[in-house]
Point group: C2
Chain length 554, copies 2
């Protein structure tokens, strides 16, 4: 193991020109648009015909402060598959800058399993996130401007559902009053800001098949209601063309490389706790077209990103996974078994066994879809052999293949065994089936997810949510797919309940129709759509010197 | 004349690869960072040694709804100089997207005198504006986060002077209340949003000599005051490194081309009515290093951008203009002479003569700096020969060379005469002198600008401004350069007073110390730092089709 920081490893590795990475998957310099010398956007549609490769979805147990390293495993697995001679392309999510400035820990893998240039990917990258912010807030300005200039659509300022966004963790903006200052400065009303990755436009971008589909979805977006409680959409405001125009480059997938110079497509990044949590359909499709294997991830645990990948993304993608990898660490399972953060370095087989209930729950969830599951045990130096043996035995008992990985320290060489087991899994017959039939109502969907994925008992609606369901039935929105907004830390809607609780109830306090994305978000518990910064934000330790050398970025 | 729209002309002209444009000024592919195939950032410092070329500043009369076409003349003049065999590089400002979505009329020239790709330059371009927004609002979030987590600096939430920004015309955000929602969602306080180009970070970026200077300036920025009324800066908050890091790419000048395939550097774009109104020092320096001539512009009229170019930018740039071009149109001067907008097509020599007082005022202003002035009469088809003759006579009487241009219809070929007169002007001896000695106090500076540039009589301070001046004297801020925030439509602080009024008073309602930029903004009249959208915003007419073809963007 090395003591180098992620950014030091990244800075010490010479990158290959992006044209060379593109050439590895058959793309010529005119098939891409460079952004600097090591990033590019891919021009779609791709030239020529392509057979689709095998699709590998990487998901994980519930995240803990102990760390799971899902992105690191994704990168290491991709490199391992490439080392084994399988042309493999990654499809990953773009980091949000909000958490980057707040918490230590990037979204680009770590150690020797990183996508690079990590400092650019973690910051402005190719501008997709900013284009989404600009498009979202331009729409907000156009709504208030419409009200200001005569309000021909009869929009009720008390019923605007289109908030504003920034790609920043800024609790101060969660709840605001805007439009103060008198007649010339708009209409006073309650408003608030979400983080950009929670914008419906992010979900729309990630689910769009092309520019035409993007515009169709943008036009469908619900922005508010009239004084007569009739829904008003972007199409009514006649700005679907302008908002789509603002996303003309953001819709193109981005190409970068791993530290081992293998191609990685990084595009779109809704959070999985408040949105659907998967990179764009176009990115995954492109990876499938360019690789024999496409390795992709879904945000947070299998209960959130995993479920949404299966239930929301695959119907649009037109392809289901050939294998699912569930990532776990001994540390995180011990944490789930009740060990305090400070004691995670000590061997504790009993706690590990207890906490592994969380892993088992997620394995079972994914198996219900009829796809082969492989477990990746992402090994830390503090893990003891007894602990690894105990965990392997637990997984063996489920007849699920498991492999330990050391990708942080060893890159692709640390996932040789995992790669083999994944290849074998993708060769097994699969029998994909959905949790609920298409067209099931929201309550049926939520109950199925609660019982079959979370391991809970039932769903309870607040008074407001109940009233909303009645309205939705009239509007024809009651059979759209549901997108659960739930804490990532627990299978329940209470972040403090670790392990694998049973018999619990999921409390839905409110629904948010996302007609452009084509789903209804069910907000449970206290999920925040605008995070805050910690008392010592990562920004305090960041710096750049006269030569442009960066420090403190993880 | 053609009936094609600007974007149609732009789309019909095949662009050269940006590497080829770079090669024209001796830059190799490794000296630039491509953003797509027709945009790039220039890596600084430039390789090798460079002698500085001649500097030509283009400014104008007060803008009117009739249109002056300053940017169009800049582009046409650059192309004409290149046609005449003088290697010329443009240095221009980046458009703000707020006005782009609001008003018809781009910031990239027009007709056959455009910088391209206009649709990219007018929209997200290379992301500089978004990086500034992100950096500005991240700083705002860090300030509120500091207060939320114990407020060790004793910041007074009622005295935070660092507002938030968006690159959007959104009057609804001018005055807000933030931090609502209880203990976990920040501290309730009054706040508001400016447009990004009004951010001090934009001014800081435009005045920085390199990354080190940028960080020094960022650290100096005033963010608010303690409960004991002591100033608090970014350095006190210890996030100067992080904010500078967020601007690491934004500080690099952008290279594009004119329709005639000549190099244009477009970088930085503070508005001239609320900020200093010039493209970045680095862009102008780079243009001077790469060209025998560098043609640059300053925002709005000579009273705003022109004065600030001379008094704020040249001391940092270390170079003063070798010639100043003042652009006027017959239409705009007739408007200044009292003709209504609907009647501008009709010949009216009397009104033209009366309105030309505005032009004369600006010529005189610029001449006071001791630099040769040339007048460019940007000809419209409706201008009659009698009008052109009358205006030429007016200018001749001042012994100032004048040339008519037809750059909109003819590109560089429409500015042959202007180019010749500009070259001659730059060969004249110049005797640059400042309006006031360096280190003059704010009142002396403002009075000199009011009398010598605006043609007015005196400056009056509000009670608040008077109290501020006393505090500034204690803080040592009273001898910083002043940056006047004033309406662009009039030489006075009242937008409705056209022509060349005299004996008027400039009313300063408030000062805003911009310690990072190194100046104090004097807010006069009712200058808005956050514009609104019109009743029919340009966004309503924009569209993009399945193939990515854009319509409605001017």
């Amino acid at each position: 193991m090395t003591n180098l920081k992620d950014i030091e490893i990244s800075q010490a590795t010479p990158l290959e020109p992006i044209e060379k990475i593109a050439a590895k998957v058959g793309l010529s310099p005119t098939d891409i648009e460079p952004y600097g010398h090591t990033k590019a956007k891919i021009t779609l549609p791709l030239p020529g015909q392509h057979e689709l490769g095998k699709l590998v979805l990487v998901t994980s147990i519930n995240p803990t402060p102990a760390g799971e390293g899902k992105s690191t495993v994704v990168v290491g697995l991709g490199d391992a598959l490439n080392r084994a001679g399988h042309q493999t392309v990654l499809a990953l999510r773009e980091p949000s800058m909000g958490p980057v400035m707040g918490m230590k820990g990037g979204a680009t893998g770590g150690g020797y399993a990183q996508v690079v240039p990590m400092e650019d990917i973690n910051l402005h990258f190719t501008g997709d996130m900013h284009a989404l912010t600009e498009a979202h807030d331009t729409l907000a300005a156009l709504i208030d401007n419409h009200i200001h200039h005569g309000n021909a659509l009869n929009l009720d300022p008390r019923q605007i559902v289109w908030k504003r966004v920034l790609d920043i963790n800024d609790r101060e903006l969660r709840q605001t009053v805007v439009g103060l200052g008198g007649r010339t400065s708009g209409t006073p009303r309650q408003d608030g800001f979400d983080i950009t990755v929670a914008s419906e436009l992010m979900a729309v971008l990630c689910l769009s098949e092309d520019l035409t589909d993007l515009k169709r979805r943008v036009n469908r977006i619900l922005i508010g209601y009239t004084y007569d409680r009739e829904p008003v959409t972007v199409a009514d405001l006649k700005v679907g063309g302008a908002i789509t125009l603002l996303l003309k480059d953001a819709i193109k997938p981005n190409l970068v490389q791993t530290l081992e110079h293998n191609p990685a497509i990084i595009h779109g990044g809704p959070f999985a706790n408040i949105a659907h949590g998967c990179n764009s359909v176009l990115a995954t499709q492109t990876a499938l077209q360019l690789g024999d294997f496409a390795v992709t991830e879904a945000g947070f645990g299998a209960d959130l990103g995993g479920e949404k990948f299966m239930d929301i993304k695959t119907p649009v993608l037109g392809k289901t996974p050939d294998a699912v990898v569930v990532v776990a660490t001994i540390r995180a399972l011990k944490y789930n078994g009740g060990v305090k953060r400070a004691d995670l370095e000590q061997e504790n087989v009993a706690a590990l066994k207890q906490g592994s209930a969380n892993l088992k729950r997620h394995i079972k969830s994914m198996q219900q879809y009829g796809v082969p599951v492989v477990v990746a045990i992402n090994r830390f130096t503090s893990d003891t052999d007894a602990e690894v043996a105990a965990l392997t035995a637990e997984v063996d008992a489920l007849a699920v293949p498991a492999a330990t990985t050391t990708v942080w320290a060893d890159g692709g060489a640390g996932a040789t065994d995992l790669a083999e087991k994944v290849v074998t899994a993708t060769q097994q017959p699969k029998d994909f089936h959905r949790l609920v039939p298409a067209g099931a109502d929201l309550m049926t969907q939520m109950t199925a997810i609660t019982q079959k994925i979370y391991g809970g008992a039932k769903v309870e609606l607040s008074g407001k949510a109940q009233r909303q369901l009645k309205t939705f039935a009239k509007q024809g929105w009651d059979k759209l797919p549901v997108c659960m907004a739930k804490t990532q830390y627990s299978l329940t809607d209470d972040a403090h309940q670790l392990g694998a609780p049973t018999e619990f109830t999921i409390h839905v306090r409110e629904f948010a129709p996302r007609l452009g994305a084509g789903f209804v978000v069910a907000l449970t518990g206290n999920v925040l759509t605008m995070p805050g910064l910690p008392s010592h934000p990562a920004a305090l330790d960041m710096d750049i010197d006269a030569e442009g050398k960066i420090t403190g970025l993880f």
